[in-house]
Amino acid sequence: MADQTVNQHTLPPNPEKATLEGRNKFLGFWFFLGGETVLFASLFGTYLGLRGGVVSGPGPDDLFHLPLVFIMTMILLTSSLTSVFAIISMKRGNYKGLLVWMWVTVALGLAFLGLEIYEFYEYYHYGLGFTTSAFASSFYTLVGTHGAHVAFGIGWIVTLLIRYRKTGLTLTNAPKFYVAVLYWHFIDVVWVFIFSVVYLMGYGG
Amino acid sequence: MKYLWRLLPFTFILLIVGCGQQNLSALDPQGPVADMQFSLIRLSLYIMIFVIVVVFALYLIVLFKFRERPGDTHIPKQVHGNKALEVIWTTIPIILLLILAIPNVMATFELAEIDDSEGAITIRAHAHLFWWEFEYPDHDIIAGQEMYIPTNTRINIELESSDVIHAFWVPALAGKQDNVPGITNTMWLEAPNEGVYLGKCAELCGPAHWQMDFKVIAVDPDTFETWAANMAEVPYEEGEITEYAVEGRAIFEANCLSCHAIGNEGGNFGPNLTNFGERTVYAGYMEATDENLENFIRDPQEWKPGNNMPAFSDMPQEDMDALIEYLKSLKVLD
């Protein structure tokens, strides 16, 4: 596909799906997210099967404080929103807007990750090591896998932002930004499930 | 291929009738549970033989009728399909499957039922690497490797495991259920006839998986009560056995008792040996000879790799002989 930077005025209205490569990437990424869904479903299933296995260690009631998790949820939801703004900018041909909103998304993602690390650190000092109980192992695995996804997403988006800081929007990088945002929405949705299944159910039920 | 297929139905009948040992085969059921399962096996087999006959008949017709003859170059008609045929070969299998599914669901529920009404006995079958412990909570006794049961009595079995997953299978009496660590499974069986039924572990559990055999021994209810009463006692007060065996008993107490119980004394890291003298095989699978017994005691890993018994390779020969004499004297049914 075209190597040169396409003049922004000549870009088609949906640059992320204008080329066959872009369409392939787009469709392939949706399939990938389908697989990721099963991946997280398996982790949720494991967690639900094991969350009663507290043995002598601390359980959900002793650990979770909702205010912190609520703040984390809000931060991640907001970052999803800012990534939507980025795509709107892209569709309007406002490349600068795309970059700025993506950087905001990254910043929010980092804030979330920082709070998650703090949260784990707290639990650890509360006596919940990774090997303490089946509950502990499955909790850390589920939430930690999500955290790893967030970290990977941040690394990915930052790479794109640095690589394309000066190129302007092209038919090559439009699909890249688009699927990165798709991925970001996905991990946001997964977090909503974690918030409900792990924290709310752990707190209430 | 052709010849083989022509032989198949004969082989079928021949094998079903002629093969397998009465105390081991699922095809020669010796109790109500295995009977129920065998009737389902037969039902499914008949339906499936019907399917096979239809498919094979069509197949052979096709092969002979529509083979390419030399010089034939006609282009066959390109048929798209046939709605009526499609409906037929969708509906008939559904009907056949329903004929099988309904009795199966009924049997599945019946087999899962735990009926502990008057007279039923509960046995806890606890699997270890690589031996079986049978606990009789009602009689407060524990037996190793051989599960004595009274005939014509409903036996409810609770399955447990202390290490990996094993499975309790006595083909002639009942299909298997798994012994899963952390979970108690239940099943039941009944034996109308006296006899020794062979049992096997059916779930891969380590190198000696194939040697993890056991026996279900059905005896008349009176004999069973005698057996159970005697199993609770330490047999033979002083003077009841030969002096030689008394010597052996001292050796046993010094070396073995911490793991192997006799009566209600001793540990249960290994099989209970109260009725060891009545065993017809040693270690679950070896012919019951003194030589095999000594070999096993001197090097258990050699004969049952991966088991937890320490080796007594250095035991002096006279001690060994006395120990064996004592072990062989352990009987509860004489």
């Binding site: 399939f31 697989g35 296995g53 990774f130 | 085969s25 298997k176 891969l204």
Partner: protein
Amino acid sequence: MSNAKAQSKSVLWDWLTTVDHKKIGIMYLVAGAFFFALGGLEAILMRIQLMFPEFSFVPAQTFNELLTMHGTTMIFLAAMPLLFGFMNYIVPLQIGARDVAFPFLNALGFWLFLFGGILLNVSWFVGGAPDAGWTAYVPLSSESPGTGVDYYVLGLQVSGAGTLIGGINFLVTIINMRAPGMSMMRMPLFTWSTFVASMLILFAFPALTIGLLLLMLERIFGATYFAVDFGGNVIIWQHLFWIFGHPEVYILILPAFGIFSEILSAFSKKRLFGYSAMVFATLIIGFLGFMVWAHHMFTVGMGPVANSIFAVATMAIAVPTGIKIFNWLLTLWGGRIQFTTANLFALAFIPSFTMGGVTGVMLATSAANYQFHDTYFVVAHFHYVIIGGVVLGLFAGAYYWWPRIFGYKLDETLGKWFFWLFLIGFHLTFFVQHFLGLIGMPRRVASYLGGQGLDTMNFISTIGAFLMGIAFIIFVVSIFTSMKNKVTDADPWGNGRTLEWTMPIPTPEYNFAQTPLVRDVDALWYEKYEGDGKMKAAEPLGDIHMPNGSILPFIMSLGLFISSFGFIYYHEGFLWLAILGLVINFGAMFVRSIKEDHGYHIPKEEVIKGGK
């Protein structure tokens, strides 16, 4: 990078960096055949051990390693890669595409599979192979001493990632890359079954990924999911494994169904009977494949309600499978059947697989399953479906597509020897095993006692295994002795129906000089009898865009390979190696991400020259 520059590289470099789906397909076939031979050897060793009661040919521990590696190798490293080989080579040709959707990822998928397979087999040389069965039930696997199971976990994790990538690639290729006129309902059945199998891969493999991740964390980092004393549960593994494992069976068998559909139709010179019913049945089987996993667990104590539901759901799969069998028979009906070796394998499949299918229904009968489960009856059943279905399909496909892929026909005389010996050996080996199971022989036993009625049939079974081994040797010999039977005709069987028989042999790098216009199911056949025998072109001749080769897939896979050793020997202080490997992997990903690669063009003149 220009085309001329690419050609100047050495042959080895060319294969290491190729992103051509045809070369990747060939590499899958070669690697898969190697692992197939290895798995076969393991099987022969096991059968020798079981030839006589209480025989001591191999120790029990080794036997457990053999049975684990035989299953794992055959499923993950032989059957699937061999099918992937055909899918890679044939599917783009069948849909009229110049390439797959993601050539780079396609190469990555292959190298991940190969490095994963090598990793798994390294275990033989460093303290013992995995010994807990291909199902690796915990706690046997989580507590298995040594590093064998660690190799299992990481080897499958690496190769499984490759499979998942391959699956996504096929899905997008089939949806987005079809030639004009090739609607979904005109796709050849092999392409259809590849599509459905890829769907199954996509939704089944992540469950295995998680299962393996948990097992790795438990074994290496002390997690407690399966440790009962810590509140763990050992049944979770079985659910995760079979949520993957049952669809896996259909991932294997559906493409084989596709191969048979192509071959039976081609060699009876008839259109596939009930095309839409066949497609529909494939979809239904794929869907139901996800609903029945717990029929592998009837004896773990799920209770009668779950057992009944899974029993009935499993029986339901017999209906679409039956539809397929009858459609194949009716495809042959009224045809002009030619008994080539390819077709012999396809024809032998029908009765063999039917026998495997009916024992499947018997196994689904939950109450009777308590007798069948974990006995040689099960061993007989799944070998009847896997060999009678998948392996016969692979050999049929090999004979059928061999001239397209390798440019020569395999010798028919040797082929028939191979076929008959293999088929007789197969039935001899496994038919008696049904009865061995029913009369009291559990599966996965390293030996059995004499005098229990098991001796004769075990001996017969071993003889059958020898026959299969000899047959396979004949096949390998014929690969080399047939090389002189060169073909150049685009349609060497003379009765090709689909697009893979429309381009010259050897297949040009760009597959189609002009993208074909598809006017019916069996596009080529349609043109032969309704048109002028040649495909209509959907575009004028022009420059053809091709992707560049890349060494990065190889490096990324190598990184994960190195990293795996770091994890396996984590407790010996090799964490640094794990990190190093990941750095290599992510570094290569990073390079791939920032370096834009737009491929190159083959000029029109060269395309015209190549067509002549």
